[in-house]
């Protein structure tokens, strides 16, 4: 598991999406189904991942069956970043 990706994602979500820079997010916490990220912010997250990691996530993949926590998201980014 790439901890750098994980840290970057956590920082982005807490600072830019939640506007709570000091907040810690459990890498297993349910982001979409748990209501941490609302549907309005999913597009921001996808654009950030594309800009930062060069990995494209299609809009129809932006739901909890593709990823729902930071660990799953890191795996998804790694699997596509070949």
């Amino acid at each position: 598991m790439n901890s750098e990706i994980s840290t970057k994602l956590t920082t982005y979500i807490s600072t830019e999406i939640l506007k709570q820079p000091n907040r810690t997010i459990d890498p297993e916490a349910a982001l979409i189904s748990g209501g941490i990220i609302d549907s309005f912010s999913l597009v921001d997250l996808a654009l950030y991942i594309e800009d930062e990691f060069g990995v494209h996530i299609d809009d129809f993949e932006l739901n909890s069956s593709t990823f729902d926590n930071i660990n799953q998201l890191v795996k998804l980014i790694e699997s596509r970043d070949q």
Binding site: G35, F40, L42
Partner: protein, 562 residues
């Protein structure tokens, strides 16, 4: 006057090959639906409804998502003479138990005799049913009679009277969906006849492009019923897809040379902020003649941001338009900006906030630029009333009241609610505003309602949910809305008197509150502020004063900013 079924029969007979809807799904070819397809699909549903024992005049609840099933089921109900009502689908954020409770409450008041849904969702629906309730059958979209040519003469819809109820719209509250707005054929057709003139609709040139949900009046009336009955093609995207890929709306406008769209205010900001140039390669928006800002308080800044962002893709400034609408009036009350730019009224800020008058600016003093909602459409009369129901002159702020030939028949099975909504034949909107030179300006609203991205949120519902968290007792939680300039809509803020000495414990409580609120209402809180005891301001009777606490919160933010 004709009914819906007579109008649809006319289109089926005279324009069977004309496309009425292009259904868009990501990753799939666009699906054109002609009037022949529409009525054949509807006839299959109507046949099924008859077989299942649904009678004309009975309510059918449709729990279906964007797609051909929803389109056919809706018009199948109309053709059969039943009354369709669309219920939003369960989202992954919302707790299934909460959804079930909402559905059970809707059923107990609206008393539908059938529910139409998908196989996958049948268990969810059945778990909300009770042995003695009104629902006799759950109809599954995979078990519908094949599309067939409708035998119009035998259809229940052809026997409906123009004063009969044709459809129900449920106002989008946070919890509970008890207020079903019942509309007659006559009311809807009167609205369409009046609104088409104001819009200058041309069935040969106009194309509506929409991502709006069909359970909301703007999506259902402006972007579904109106174009289909008036033979204007619609390009229909799903709200679920749009929120994840807002550029799809602009691509669709460009591909289909769309001319008309209705959007809530936040969508102007959302599109301006979240679409990248690379997603707009080759996009040309010059066909758009009206992009109508409607259903949330409309802001000049939002229209301007949208224009600045998309001007280089051919968007014309004159295309930006405004509309003030409500389901109780079928849809539009006013319309502005068609064939001319929307009027902007610059007024003295203190006059509005303190004296409740909209007067011309005073030298050197702060001003506000108000965006006009336009003029009342021809069949609607508007008055501004004071607290005693007396009409006010121009530029004095009061409650907006209206009178038209397209009002609701009533809140379905809620005679008392219906009675309370009217004063001497005038419908009281609960919105504040003023009139100036025949144009209407909306300034605020009477109730503590928060509108988030076009969705109505009642603060008391959110407060109640938060009280599920230990220590968040009644009288110690308050919820209100704060306008977010960047997003163009309101943020929901919650303050609770539960702060502890332990920062980790505080974070845990905040998280719990966020979670119960989201799972119970599908609303994400922008901020949860934990404060110490006695922070909250209460009224003399011990109730939480929302407005006063909002002021205190805003002052607190200001003082920490400087």
């Amino acid at each position: 006057m004709q009914t819906f079924s007579h109008i649809l029969k006319g289109h089926f007979d005279e324009n069977p090959d004309r496309v009425c809807i292009y259904l868009l799904h990501p990753n799939q070819p666009d699906l054109p639906v002609t009037y022949r397809d529409l009525m054949r699909g509807a006839a299959g549903y109507a046949k099924t409804f008859k077989k299942e024992g649904i009678l004309p005049g009975e309510v059918l609840v449709l729990i279906l998502q964007h797609g051909i099933d929803l389109v056919f089921a809706y018009f199948g109900a109309i053709l059969h003479g039943a009354i369709p009502s669309i219920m939003p689908f369960l989202t992954e954020k919302l707790l299934p138990e909460r959804y079930r409770a909402d559905l059970a409450s809707l059923i107990s008041i609206t008393r539908p005799t059938g529910v139409v849904t998908y196989e996958d969702f049948e268990d969810e629906v059945r778990s909300a049913l009770m042995p003695e309730d009104s629902v006799r059958t759950v109809i599954l979209s995979g078990h519908i009679e094949s599309p067939c040519n409708p035998d119009f003469e035998s259809q229940g819809g052809m026997g409906r009277n123009t004063n009969d109820i044709v459809l129900l719209q449920h106002s989008s509250g946070t919890t509970g969906l008890q207020k079903g707005i019942a509309l007659s054929h006559r009311a809807v057709i009167n609205q369409l006849e009046s609104y088409r003139v104001v819009l200058g609709l041309n069935e040969e040139k106009d194309i509506v492009v929409s991502w709006l949900p069909l359970y909301h009046d703007m999506g259902l009336i402006a972007c579904f019923i109106l174009p289909i009955l008036l033979k204007v093609p619609i390009v229909l995207l799903s709200p679920f897809d749009w929120i994840r890929a807002p550029y799809r709306l602009l691509q669709a406008v460009s591909t289909y040379k769309g001319t008309l769209s209705w959007l809530p205010n936040f969508a102007f900001n959302f599109c301006a902020l979240k679409i990248r140039d690379r997603q707009l390669e080759g996009v040309d928006l010059s066909s758009w003649r009206a992009v109508i800002n409607c259903s949330e308080p409309m802001r000049l800044e939002s229209n301007q941001a949208f224009f600045d962002r998309f001007e280089r893709f051919g968007l014309r400034y004159e295309a930006l338009a405004t509309c003030y609408a409500m389901a109780e009036n079928v849809f539009a009350v006013t319309q502005g900006g068609i064939g001319e730019s929307v009027k902007v009224d610059e007024i003295d800020r203190d006059g509005l906030h303190v004296e409740r008058v909209a007067r011309t600016p005073i030298d050197g003093k702060a001003t506000l630029k108000m965006l006009s909602a336009g003029k009342p459409i021809p069949n609607v009369k508007v008055q501004i009333l004071d607290g005693d129901g007396i009409p006010l002159p121009d530029r004095i702020i009061g409650e907006i009241a209206l009178n038209s030939n397209c009002m609701l028949t009533g809140y379905y099975n809620r005679p008392e609610e219906t009675r309370k909504a009217f004063l001497k034949g005038w419908y009281l909107t609960g919105d504040y505003g003023y009139l100036a030179d025949g144009e209407i300006y909306i300034t605020g609203r009477k109730k503590d309602l928060i509108i988030v991205g076009g969705k109505n949120v009642y603060p008391q519902d959110i407060e109640l949910l938060a009280m599920e968290v230990p220590k968040a007792h009644p009288g110690r939680v308050v919820v209100f809305g704060v306008f977010n300039e960047e997003l163009g809509t309101e943020d929901v803020v919650l303050i609770a008197e539960v702060r502890t000495e332990d920062p980790e414990e505080n974070e845990r409580i905040s998280d719990q509150i966020r979670q119960v609120v989201t799972r119970g209402s599908a609303i994400a809180l922008r901020q949860v502020l934990l404060v110490g005891e006695k922070w909250l301001i209460k009224t003399s009777s011990g109730k939480i004063a929302r407005l006063a606490n909002r002021e205190k919160y805003l002052k607190g933010i200001k003082s920490t900013d400087h």
